[in-house]
């Protein structure tokens, strides 16, 4: 039985049905039961030899190639697997551990990660370091053979239930910004780690603030080299980009053309030429992005990796949502803004409208994406950079008065 056949058979027998679905970490907070179900599923995946497909056998992986990984993705695309809570663990932290971890770190952390026993989160963003990811102010100070960490992280998804975190902290504020950062492995249950849910504008709190109050880390908590944390972070963010690009939107989406067109028909607005024109334009926006993504995949298969062109998809996807918000208003009219409490259509549309700003902010704002396309795809000259040659402690960072 070849790999594809094996994956297909196993999924057919083991993948949960739609109503058992566990939400993604960035979507909403899973219940205890959902979390337990997700862990059970991951363990089963591991037992079936389908976890960590490209990871080393030595650490519980399968030691296979990207081809098998791709096959798994293709076969899994028809399912709604409850692996959302492991996205950051498997998609970002794990691969970075594989790349940069010591033998001891890998032996300790990778097997339980693959078995679904431990979950990871990513501790990068800070209130003062948003688009400017390297503007990290959280300090890690050496104290004998330990490090003492103090600072605040934000936008941490999964921190409520994560066991470990990959932390980016500043170890040398006398160095320029991109030097003097170090990546650490943090036990999220350690004293001094406080997780507070961060409520977003939709009213839910899938993200958290994480306060680090003199958290003591052992010397072997360093991932990679001391003061070389920026390259570790770049590696991890590279994994994130691949991971975001590969994920598929499967949920019911009230802002999708198909659903808005159906709504227009139900509400008797499908005969209005202006609504029709806007719906056609929305379809065009959706379709051209989908075809762009398909073309990117074909190019990738043909040996041309997408590279920074993934930013086009990110940018176009965000713009598309804003277009859809406009069309939704034309179609749903006043029902966009007020509806009966029992009307889940109303709730769903409002949630989608309120979540839309995230699309052009999270994971790199539209402005950042345009910069990436300009710099890396088109090769346009960089802006003057005022933060490159100055010791970090002399830089202005975050939100400061004039």
């Amino acid at each position: 039985m070849d790999f594809r056949e094996r994956v297909r058979t196993w999924l057919a027998e083991n993948a949960p049905r739609g109503d058992e679905r566990v939400p993604d970490a960035s979507e909403s907070v899973p219940s205890e039961a959902q979390l337990a179900a997700a862990k059970r599923f991951q363990a089963a995946l591991h037992d079936a030899g389908l976890a960590g497909i490209t990871w080393p056998v030595e650490y519980g992986g399968q030691g296979l190639t990207a081809a098998e990984q791709q096959i798994f993705h293709e076969e899994a695309s028809g399912y709604d697997l409850p692996t959302g809570v492991f996205l950051i663990s498997m998609g970002m932290c794990g691969p970075t551990l594989v790349d940069l971890g010591t033998h001891e770190q890998k032996s300790r952390h990778l097997p339980p990660l693959l078995r679904g026993e431990e979950i990871w989160c990513q501790l990068f963003s800070e209130p003062g370091a948003g688009s400017d990811v390297a503007g990290v102010q959280t300090r890690a100070v050496r104290d004998g053979d330990h490090w003492v960490v103090r600072g605040q992280k934000v936008w941490t998804s999964g921190a409520q239930y994560a066991d470990f975190g990959a932390l980016l902290a500043r170890t040398d504020p006398g160095a320029v910004k991109h030097r003097g950062l170090t990546m650490f492995i943090v036990d999220m249950h350690a004293p001094g780690v406080t997780v507070r849910p961060l409520k977003d504008m939709t009213g839910s709190a899938p993200f958290n603030e994480v306060y680090l109050d003199d958290v003591r880390l052992p010397a072997d908590a360093v991932l990679g080299e001391v003061d070389a944390g920026w390259s570790a972070a770049v590696a991890m963010l590279g994994h994130e980009r691949v991971s975001i690009g590969g994920s598929v939107r499967r949920r019911y989406d009230p802002l999708a053309f198909e659903n808005l067109a159906a709504l227009a028909r139900r509400r008797g607005r499908a005969d209005d030429p202006v609504v029709r024109a806007e719906l056609a334009a929305l379809y065009a926006g959706e379709r051209k992005l989908a075809l762009f993504n398909a073309r990117l995949r074909q190019q990738s298969d043909a040996g041309v990796p997408p590279g920074a062109r993934g930013s086009v998809a990110k940018l176009a996807g965000a713009e598309l949502l804003w277009q859809a918000v406009h069309v939704a208003g034309l179609v749903a009219g006043a029902r966009t803004i007020a509806w009966d409490p029992g009307d889940t259509d109303g709730d769903a549309l409002a949630l989608a409208i309120n979540a839309t700003p995230a699309s052009s902010i999270a994971g790199g704002t539209n402005q950042i994406q345009r910069g990436i396309i300009g710099d890396r795809v088109l090769g346009l000259p960089k802006e003057p950079q005022v933060d490159r040659d100055v010791p970090f402690r002399q830089l202005r960072v975050g939100t400061q008065a004039g």
Partner: protein, 363 residues
């Protein structure tokens, strides 16, 4: 035509702004919107004491007899502060309806209380799809001896459940009913700072307001509502612009304030250009309502064509320029976003506003 404020009007703006600065902080708004009623009665009283609720009500009915320009000045401040008070519902929609109905008895009975803020009223003019006037298809009026009784539903009633009186546009024209006699079904709303409800009428006793042309009253009220709402939307735009520019000056990324980046600076410039043009549109519409009401239909439709889209775009852009912090519940950006989207669709859709303007221009 006069597009700038005189000293007295500027003074009025300052008074209201000061009052709101003291009594309508973000913390207070966030407290009020979690209450059952969702409106700030103490603040309402203070505004009423300032004479704000009766600005456009004739002096013979206890109002200031000032006018739309003044009322728009107040509305802009209320919009900027997202003040959870029934000003739009009662001091605009209901007061203008009573005025337009031109029924002396009703006016004498209701207007003084609306002007003083003693009582509030609401209007019910939409059916299930929200179209202005569609309640005439969903609410049926029937004579019952000397009385009338209303049966059916009206939706999208702004600040209905707290209203003492409700003016209903039904199949036989305009009716007044006691707010307490209506079975209210509060709606879930996109905007937590503005309450909207559905009214169920099951043989509810009503008083018929004789009126030669009920549809003309409806149109007159829409025009004035369009201008008033536009003033509120202008307040949202101005506040979002100010907050965004301040943030762009303070927030540092990559070693310099984000307002020094063209991506942010030019976006702020566009917000400013939109806001300044919007203000001219609102001032002109308000001036027309006061001084040349026969010409109001075009400026009123124009006000909604311009403000409904531009206010939402401004709120969305302002949120975007705040980045992650703008997406949090804690920051106020989302409240302006939700208010602006709600206002965009409160009196029709951007498409219906354009269609109306085209019609009124004789295209």
């Amino acid at each position: 035509m006069r597009l700038i404020l005189d000293d007295e009007q500027t003074q009025l703006a300052t008074s209201v702004r000061d009052l709101l600065g003291d009594h309508c902080t973000s913390a207070r708004v966030r407290e009020v919107i979690t209450t059952d009623e969702g409106i700030d009665r103490p603040l309402w009283t203070k505004l009423a004491e300032l004479g704000a609720a009766g600005l456009a009500v004739g002096e013979e009915f206890g109002g200031a007899g000032a006018g739309h320009v003044e009322r728009c000045v107040v509305l802009a401040e209320l919009g900027a502060a997202l003040a959870p008070v029934p000003y739009l519902a009662s001091a605009v929609l209901a007061a203008d309806t009573v005025t337009a109905l031109d029924d002396r008895a009703l006016a004498e009975e209701l207007l003084p209380d609306l002007a003083s803020g003693q009582r509030t009223a609401a209007i019910a003019v939409a059916g299930a799809d929200g179209t202005w006037g569609s309640s005439a298809e969903s609410v049926h009026a029937a004579r019952d001896g000397d009385l009338w009784r209303l049966a059916g539903e009206a939706a999208f009633v702004v600040d209905g459940p707290t209203a003492d009186q409700v003016l209903v546009y039904a199949d036989h024209g305009w009716f007044a009913v006691d707010g307490g006699a209506v079975a209210w079904r509060p709606s879930t709303t996109l905007d937590p700072t503005r309450r909207i409800a559905r009214a169920e009428l099951v043989g509810t006793a009503a008083r018929h307001i004789a009126c030669p042309d009920p549809e003309a009253v409806l149109a007159a009220v829409w025009d004035r509502a369009a201008v008033a709402l536009a003033a509120e939307q202008l307040g949202v735009m101005r506040r979002v612009l100010d907050e965004t520019v301040d943030y762009a000056k303070a927030r540092v990324q990559f070693g310099r304030p984000i307002g020094s980046y063209q991506a942010v600076k030019h976006a702020c410039a566009d917000l400013y250009a939109a806001c300044e043009q919007a203000e001219a549109v609102v001032r002109h519409a308000a001036w027309t309502a006061d001084h040349d009401p026969a010409e109001l239909p075009v400026p009123a439709a124009l006000a909604q064509v311009v403000l409904s889209g531009d206010a939402f775009d401004t709120a969305a852009a302002g949120l975007q320029l705040h980045g992650g912090i703008g997406y949090t519940w804690e920051h106020d950006a989302h409240l302006y976003y939700k208010r602006a989207k709600t206002s965009e669709l409160l009196l029709g859709t951007p498409a219906s506003h354009r269609a109306l303007l085209a019609e009124r221009l004789g295209v």
